[in-house]
């Protein structure tokens, strides 16, 4: 499955990509902000992992845009961010994220969330 990793920090992109590889997701795309992510996101992307705070277009607007596109309206989206206030999490849920990880995270947490999202997506499709 192809995963799109969106973060303005090249360091974080590399860390997330490495974590994905370590849990078996070897096919990855990268984007530095929401605009770039929208341009790269087509029907072939099966999972989107995005940061919240980014220049140009942040993660929240990216999620809203993705949910408005038919080809990504049900794609699992995981928000990985330092923001951890309850109101922020609720705002992200309202925008359309499927799950939420607080930085710094461990690959184990990443795996748990991805597994849960994919299981949920499979159940919804069945």
């Amino acid at each position: 499955m192809k995963c799109l990793v969106v973060d303005d920090s090249p360091t974080m992109r590399r860390i997330v990509v490495n974590a994905l590889k370590s849990i078996g997701y070897v096919e990855t795309l990268e984007a530095g902000d929401g605009h770039e992510a929208l341009a790269r996101c087509d029907g072939s992307v099966g999972l989107i992992i995005t940061d919240w705070n980014m220049p140009n277009m942040g993660g929240l607007d990216l999620v809203k845009n993705l949910r408005a596109k038919p080809e990504t309206s049900t794609t699992p989206i995981l928000m990985v961010t330092t923001r951890s206030v309850r109101e922020d999490i609720l705002t992200a849920v309202q925008a359309g994220v499927s799950n939420y990880i607080v930085k710094p995270f461990t690959p184990q947490v990443l795996k748990e969330k991805i597994d849960a999202m994919l299981a949920g997506a499979a159940a919804a499709a069945a």
Binding site: D7, D8, S9, P10, T11, M12, R14, I15, N18, A19, S22, W52, N53, M54, P55, N56, M57, G58, T81, T82, R83, S84, V85, R86, I89, L90, T91, V93, Q94, N99, Y100, I101, V102, K103, P104, F105, T106, P107, V109
Partner: protein
Amino acid sequence: MNPASRGKTMETLRLTSYMSDLESTVKLMYQLVREIYAIESDGGELSRIHEIAEALERRPNLTALPQVLLKAYGEITGALGGIRLSRETIQVHAVDRIRRTHAKLAEVSSATESATTELLNGLDRALGIIDRLEQHGNGDALRLDDGRTAHQAIRDEVNGLFNVLQFQDITSQQLNAVNDLLVDVEQRLVAVALLFDPAVGEDAPMPILLLPDPGAGSKSYDQAASTTGADMRQALADAVMAETSRRGHLSLVSA
């Protein structure tokens, strides 16, 4: 009360007295003019003019007023000089120090990012070496107590180091937040300095070197970013996610 401030209080009281005299003098002068007009038009009483003239003579303080005003002018000029010095002190010591701190923080941020990139490159190379060793089948014989091969154990260690480097992203956000705070403090100090001495500011405006980020409307950092308490914050996120999926997120958000 010290002698200096007592002296200033006395000066203030005397000045207030002079001002009161001046006000009543002006009133008397006004009455005098009116009486003169009255005499001219319908023969007013001369005795009233005498009364006013006598009242005017009972204001000896007025002769001292020019000296008092001159002294006040001198004191105000001296105070303005002190204020000008304060402005320069703010500029030289506070604003310049903030700028140096800003530059240092930028250097720390850049150095940390470069070092992290180098570390990531090294870890990538280490993973590549582990891959090659695995392809040669040299590590299967050696197994650790937990059952992992030596290759897998080293790979886990390297992946763990990858994960630790998340600190760079978080500290970078913290430094950005501090830098924005410094810009704000500097701008406020400049504003205060100009309040002290606006005339000088108009002639030679103090330049604000730390211009705010043009993308400040959409900040690319979280000012509350932290490397600590991640487990607790993740638990909160999990609890909120569980709650939203149980009850339907829209009702929770609008609540």
